[in-house]
C-alpha cells in the first residue's frame, strides 16, 4: 500500500514540477517578446512604459542567466510570492487569488460531488429498463454534449432574464455588505444557484451515461450471469453490478477534473461570478500575466490534491487494490 501511494505521489510531484516549469517557460520562450508586447499594449506614456518595462525585466529576472531565473522562480514560489498584479496594482497576486478561490470551490465541490452521486444513481436506474433508456438517455447525451457556457447562458437567460426569478450576475447583491444575516445568506444562495445548476447539469448527464454503460457491461459479466443461473433476484445482481460499476466512475472522476475546472471557469464568466474563472478573464483582458500564471499554479495544485484524494478513496472502495498491495494475491 505504501508503495502504491509512493508511486502515485511521485507521479504527482513530477507533474507539479513539469507544470511549474511550463509556467515558468511560457513567458520566456514564447515567440516574440511578450514583455515588450505586453507593455506596448498597455499604451502608457513613454516614461511610464520604460518604468513598466524595467519593472517586468526585474520581476521576471530576465537580465540574469537562465538557470538563475529558474531557481529564483522556485524560491519565490516557495515563499508564496507569485508576483504583483498589474490589473489591481499593487496587490500581490496571491491575495487576489486567495479571495477568489472560495467562490470557485463553493461552485465546484458541491457540483462535482452531487452530480457524481446523482448521475450514478440515475444512470444505474435507467440501465436496461427499455422505456427509460430510450426516452431519458438522449437527454443525458444532449446535456453532456452541451458546452458549459452555453447551458449557463440558457439558464441565465431563462431564469434570470426572461422569468427574472434569480439574479443574473455576481456572488451576492453588491448593495449589501457581507454580514452574518439571513438576508445576506439568501442573497449568496440565490446568486450561487444558477452557476451551480449549469455545472451540475452538464456533469450529471456525463455521469448518468457513463454509469448506464458500465452497468450494462456489468450485467453482462460472468458473475452476473451465474447469479442469475442460481436464481438470485435482480435486486442482488444489480446491487453487485452497481458496486462494481462505481469503481471506474471513481477513476473517471479524477480524469474529468481538468475538464470540469475549465467548465467552472467559463461558467463563472457567464455569471460574472467572482471566482478564478472570472479572474482569468480579467487577467486576459488586462494583460495581467502574473495573475494568469498564479491562477494556473493554483489550479494545478488543486487538481493534483484532488487526484490524490480520489486515489485514497479508490483504495477504500476497491478491495482488490488493498489485497494486491499486501502482496497476497
Amino acid at each position: 500500500m505504501r508503495q502504491y501511494f509512493a508511486r502515485k505521489l511521485a507521479i504527482y510531484l513530477v507533474t507539479f514540477f513539469v507544470a511549474v516549469t511550463i509556467d515558468w517557460m511560457i513567458p520566456r520562450f514564447m515567440p516574440g517578446d511578450p514583455v515588450q508586447g505586453m507593455v506596448s499594449r498597455m499604451s502608457l506614456e513613454p516614461e511610464a512604459a520604460n518604468r513598466m518595462m524595467g519593472f517586468f525585466l526585474g520581476a521576471f529576472g530576465l537580465d540574469k542567466p537562465i538557470w538563475e531565473q529558474y531557481l529564483n522562480f522556485w524560491v519565490a514560489l516557495a515563499h508564496g510570492d507569485l508576483g504583483i498584479s498589474v490589473w489591481q496594482f499593487p496587490t500581490p497576486v496571491l491575495n487576489i487569488i486567495l479571495s477568489a478561490v472560495p467562490y470557485t470551490l463553493a461552485l465546484l465541490i458541491p457540483a462535482i460531488l452531487l452530480s457524481w452521486v446523482a448521475g450514478n444513481q440515475f444512470g444505474a436506474w435507467v440501465a436496461r429498463r427499455k422505456r427509460l433508456d430510450n426516452t431519458v438517455l438522449p437527454v443525458g447525451y444532449i446535456l453532456t454534449a452541451t458546452p458549459y457556457m452555453w447551458l449557463g447562458i440558457l439558464i441565465a437567460w431563462g431564469l434570470g432574464s426572461v422569468l427574472r426569478v434569480l439574479p443574473l450576475s455576481g456572488a451576492f447583491n453588491y448593495s449589501m455588505s457581507p454580514t452574518l444575516t439571513w438576508e445576506f445568506f439568501l442573497s449568496v444562495y440565490t446568486h450561487w444557484l444558477m452557476p451551480f445548476l449549469s455545472l451540475f447539469l452538464v456533469m450529471f448527464g456525463g455521469w448518468a451515461i457513463g454509469m448506464r454503460n458500465m452497468i450494462i457491461y456489468e450485467l453482462e459479466s460472468d458473475y452476473a450471469h451465474w447469479l442469475e443461473a442460481l436464481g438470485a433476484p435482480q435486486s442482488l445482481v444489480r446491487r453487485y453490478a452497481f458496486r462494481n460499476a462505481v469503481l471506474p466512475q471513481v477513476t473517471g472522476l479524477a480524469l474529468s477534473l481538468g475538464v470540469v475546472v475549465a467548465g467552472a471557469l467559463v461558467t463563472e464568466v457567464v455569471f460574472s461570478y467572482p471566482g478564478l474563472g472570472y479572474l482569468v478573464l480579467q487577467a486576459i483582458q488586462n494583460e495581467d500575466y502574473f495573475l494568469l500564471q498564479g491562477i494556473f499554479l493554483f489550479v494545478i495544485i488543486g487538481v493534483l490534491v484532488a487526484n490524490f484524494l480520489i486515489d485514497i478513496a479508490y483504495v477504500v472502495v476497491d478491495p482488490r487494490t488493498r489485497v494486491g498491495m499486501q502482496g497476497r494475491a
Binding site: D222, H225, G231, P233, R320
Partner: protein, 316 residues
C-alpha cells in the same frame, strides 16, 4: 427416473435466422447417474446445459419438455424456473474462473446469495465451512477475494457454492478445461465424491475431454450438430461404440490418455453442417463413410441394446 428430457428444441436467434442448436433431444438420466456429454464445440452441448438452467438472451425455447423428479421443469418461463434454480437445478458454469463477484469476499457473496433465496446464511455457515474443507480448501478462503485464489481453488469454491442446497441435478460445464492436469484429476474426483455423499443426485458433465469422462461418468452421451448420436455406459462408448461418428471420434483420439475430442477431427473429412439450415435426414451423412440414400431420412434415436441408444440407420 430422475431427469427426463423429451424432444427438446432450443434455437438461437441470429441475424440470418434461427440456429438450431438443440433440435429434438430426448434422453433420461437415472437417479445417481453421472452422465457425460461429449461432442465437438458448437454441437449444442453447452446449449443443453444452459437450456436446463438459465437461457441466455439469444436463446429461444421452441418445443419439448423436461421432467425432473416427476415434476415438470418450466424451462421456458424464466420466472417460474427461479423456484427450481439452486434448490433443484444448479450449474457450474464454463466460466468458473470469473463466476464470482471480484469485489466481494467469497463468504459474504455466498451469504448474500443464500439470503436472497430466503435461506438462513448464518445457520448454514458451519455446513459451508465443512464443504470447503471437503474439497480440500482452508475455511479461510471464505474471507478472501476471488483474485486471491488459484484457478483450481476457484473451481472448487464454485463447485461448493453450486451444490450448497443439494440440487437434484447439477450441470458441470467444462469444469476442467481451465485447469492443469493434476488439478483436473482432483476436481473430477470431487465430482464423484459429491455424488457419493448424495450432495448432488444426478449430474451432466459437459466436456471436450474424454479422459475426464472415462474417469467420472457412468454413461456418455455423444452429440452431433444439435442432435444426440449415441448414449451408452461409459465403457461401451469407449470400448464398443456403434454410431459411425462416435467410432471415428473415439478412434481419432490417442490410445492412451484419451483427450480432447474437441480438436478438429483430422480423421473425419469435412465440417459439421450449418445449423442455420441443416440438411434433411441424418446430420452426419455428408461426412459418414457408411451413408447412403436411406440416410436422407432422419434416423430415430432408438435403444439397440439395453441402455444403449443410437441414432443411425446402419446400426441395429
Amino acid at each position: 427416473m430422475s431427469l427426463q428430457v423429451n424432444d427438446l428444441r432450443v434455437y438461437y436467434r441470429t441475424l440470418a435466422g434461427d440456429v438450431r442448436a438443440l433440435d429434438g433431444v430426448t434422453f433420461s438420466i437415472a437417479e445417481g447417474e453421472i452422465m457425460g456429454l461429449a461432442g465437438e464445440s458448437g454441437c449444442g452441448k453447452s446449449t443443453l446445459g444452459k437450456a436446463l438452467t438459465h437461457f441466455d438472451s439469444r436463446m429461444r425455447y421452441v418445443g419439448g419438455d423436461v421432467v425432473l423428479d416427476d415434476e415438470p421443469l418450466p424451462i421456458m418461463d424464466s420466472d417460474a424456473m427461479d423456484e427450481f434454480r439452486f434448490w433443484s437445478v444448479s450449474i457450474i458454469p464454463q466460466y468458473a474462473m470469473s463466476a464470482m463477484n471480484p469485489t466481494r469476499k467469497i463468504g459474504k457473496m455466498i451469504a448474500d446469495l443464500l439470503e436472497s433465496r430466503g435461506e438462513d446464511a448464518a445457520a448454514m455457515r458451519p455446513e459451508i465451512e465443512r464443504r470447503i474443507e471437503l474439497v480440500g480448501l482452508q475455511r479461510d478462503v471464505l474471507d478472501r477475494y476471488p483474485i486471491e485464489l488459484s484457478g483450481g481453488m476457484k473451481q472448487r469454491v464454485v463447485m461448493v457454492i453450486a451444490t450448497l442446497l443439494n440440487p437434484s441435478l447439477l450441470i458441470a460445464d467444462e469444469i476442467t478445461s481451465a485447469l492443469d492436469v493434476s488439478t483436473q484429476k482432483a476436481v473430477a474426483e470431487t465430482l464423484i465424491e459429491f455424488r457419493d455423499r448424495q450432495l448432488v443426485r444426478t449430474m451432466i458433465v459437459i466436456t471436450h475431454d474424454m479422459s475426464i469422462l472415462a474417469q467420472v461418468a457412468d454413461t456418455i452421451t455423444v452429440m452431433y450438430a444439435g442432435k444426440l448420436a449415441e448414449k451408452a455406459a461409459t465403457d461401451v462408448i469407449i470400448g464398443a461404440p456403434k454410431h459411425p461418428y462416435t467410432r471415428l471420434l473415439i478412434s481419432s483420439l490417442p490410445e492412451v490418455g484419451v483427450r480432447y475430442a474437441d480438436k478438429r477431427l483430422t480423421g473425419i473429412p469435412g465440417n459439421p453442417p450449418q445449423l442455420l439450415d441443416p440438411p434433411l435426414g441424418c446430420r452426419f451423412q455428408a461426412r459418414c463413410p457408411l451413408a447412403d440414400a436411406q440416410c436422407r431420412e432422419e434416423p430415430p434415436f432408438v435403444e439397440v441394446e439395453p441402455a444403449h441408444f443410437v441414432a443411425c440407420w446402419k446400426v441395429s
